[in-house]
């Protein structure tokens, strides 16, 4: 791979590297990054930065498909251990993954059925209890409206988990479809996509969220999810585009095309299994970011709004009273931090398992 190469279709600016790194904040930049910029490298590229898409895909190919072009239906079902099985074996033995997976399962469980561990209603409050510390049956105490902090903390998980998972699913789906098609077909659609992603990258997420959500009247989770998908998909699209462009140049794709495979078959059977890994990595890492972003927006008063029960809202309400009743802030904040931590650890573990370059 050390020889100079050209970007497959559209001339991208060096800032692409930067944008790609954004996707991969928690890890090595460029390992899952999209296409390299139009830089002319003289000599070897021993640099730890943007790995060329083809090198990445080649590494992928070596690990993932030791034999002839994959003829397996779906990822990793054949006898040879593919990238997926390999990754799964890795993950199962990784304590970070196990801990975060258990935590996330628990969070999903209590967001689906919060009454399992907190039978009360989060909206049933008695002003007489305002700001009281912990009491029997109410371990976390009460907030300034006299609501039980424990009940509200448990019920608040639903908003965060819903936003995180739905936004990530939406971003991954939209981004990989658009990015993948653009990378596969190239041409003017691809050029348009590149410019479009440039536009979206020009707006920092929090800033855009503040502006966009401030005009939304509804206080439910769906506008927040919609916004996160709207501003988040270009990042995944860029990664997916790079991965697809990398996979297209592989011999097995050429071979399949020579054998007369149509575009749909090429995309679904040959390119998708080999290009989906970076997208999954970026998406899992984004999960934690989205949860954190939602809480921040709710804290600023533009995301979720009461009566939706959310940690961001509770923290915002408690923040002015932190000197008198710190417990009102600490419990929702702790729950939020734990959730974000679990998602970020999951992202880390998945990246380590799916990125052969780090092995």
């Amino acid at each position: 791979m050390p020889e100079p190469y050209e970007t497959p279709s559209d001339a991208l600016t060096p800032s692409t590297v930067g944008k790609a790194a954004e996707a991969d904040l928690v890890g090595v930049p460029g390992t899952v990054a999209g296409p390299d910029p139009t830089l002319a490298f003289e000599g070897t590229t021993g640099l730890g930065t943007g790995t060329a898409p083809d090198s990445r895909a080649a590494a992928d190919g070596e690990v993932a498909t030791p034999g002839p072009p994959v003829a397996e239906p779906g990822p990793g079902l054949g006898p040879a251990r593919g990238l997926w099985q390999d990754a799964w074996c890795d993950l199962r033995r990784n304590p970070v993954f196990v801990v975060s997976a258990v935590l996330i399962l628990f969070l999903v469980l209590i967001s689906a059925w919060p009454t399992l561990i907190a039978p009360g209603s989060p909206l049933q409050c008695d002003l007489a209890d305002s700001r009281r510390g912990s009491a029997p049956g109410h371990p976390f105490g009460f907030d300034s409206q006299g609501c039980d902090v424990y009940t509200r903390t448990v019920h608040g998980a639903r908003a965060s988990v819903t936003v995180g998972i739905c936004a990530t699913a939406g971003v991954a789906l939209l981004g990989s479809v658009v990015g993948g098609l653009a990378g596969f077909f190239g041409g003017w659609g691809d050029a348009l996509l590149s410019r479009l992603t440039d536009v979206f990258f020009g707006i920092p997420m929090l800033l855009g969220g503040l502006v966009f959500l401030s005009v939304v009247r509804s206080g439910s989770v769906w506008p927040v999810v919609g916004f996160l998908v709207l501003l988040g998909w270009p990042q995944v699209a860029r990664i997916a585009r790079g991965a697809v462009i990398g996979a297209i140049q592989q011999d097995y794709v050429l071979a399949a095309r020579a054998l007369g495979a149509g575009n749909a078959r090429l995309l679904l059977r040959h390119i998708l299994p080999n290009a989906v890994a970076p997208v999954i990595v970026v998406a899992t890492i984004a999960l934690g970011t989205f949860v954190s972003l939602e809480a921040t927006l709710s804290y600023l008063g533009v995301g979720l709004k009461p009566p939706t029960v959310s940690w961001g809202i509770d923290i915002s309400a408690a923040s002015t009273l932190v000197r008198n009743a710190p417990h009102m802030l600490l419990y929702p904040a702790g729950a939020l931090s734990l959730t974000v931590l679990a998602f970020i650890m999951l992202g880390d573990a998945v990246r380590d398992a799916l990125d052969p370059k780090l092995r």
Binding site: G18, V28, G48, I203, L207, I315
Partner: protein, 307 residues
Amino acid sequence: MGRYVLRRLLQMVPVFLGTTLLIFVMVYALGDPVAAFFGDRAPDPATAARIRAELGLDQPLWRQYVDYLGRILTGDFGTAFNGRQVTELMTSAFPVTLRLTLVAFVIEMGFGVVLGVVSGLRRGRLVDTSVLAFTLLVISVPTFVTGYLLQYLLGVRWNLVPPAVSPQAPLRELLLPGVVLALVSLAYVTRLTRTSVAENARADYLRTAVAKGLPRRRVVVRHLLRNSLVPVVTFLGVDIGTLMAGAIVTERIFNIQGVGYHLWQGILRQNSPTVVGFVTVLVLVFLFANLLVDLLYAALDPRIRYA
């Protein structure tokens, strides 16, 4: 080089137009600035129509946008709804935020790179593991939680630093807000440096440098660090956006009257000229910062040439 900069500047034009259009549409088409004048009550239709005409809001949206762009190019960002010039607000707000961002920047670069190098060189040891755990913790606790906690502990409980910032915002008072703003980025810088140092520590050129008998300090600073900083520099371009947006939260916590504070106020009060003006300038800053970062690559890595 000159041609490259020119090309990049030209490419910036459509991006700038697209971004501002997006913001403009969000604020003016989705929101209703005139309704905001009347608070919770429904506006009197005749008055609303008069205000609309006065502000040019009765024109079609594209017309408003073109007019707005024309005015921006002559340095006129319009008048906020409370009668103050937006540019006047900016001149009072930007220096404050610039100072805050600079403090945060110095902190995150200084501590981030040092921590990253230390842990990257001792991969797998105790130092490395604890630094990693620290970064995980910092990333997962949201800024507004760390902000309130540090403000409460350092500012109120132990009285080490002033808990709020006066309107003049001297550097001394900006230290704690700077730390709060920098923390998350610091963790990312640490992790990036760590990975790239650990990767480059196995490189041939480093072994050569050691074999030549160069002192350790020189090997690390001149050979290892210079090559390892490229991804960190990449991150900085993105990070400037994060810092600017993060300033909204930090400035709210510490009551700093900077860009974030005014922007947040503008959004709460649906003060559209303020919001669009500030966001436009922030987007410009962001775009230019990214250009600067791209040019920095060439300085760090002579193999990168711009055609």
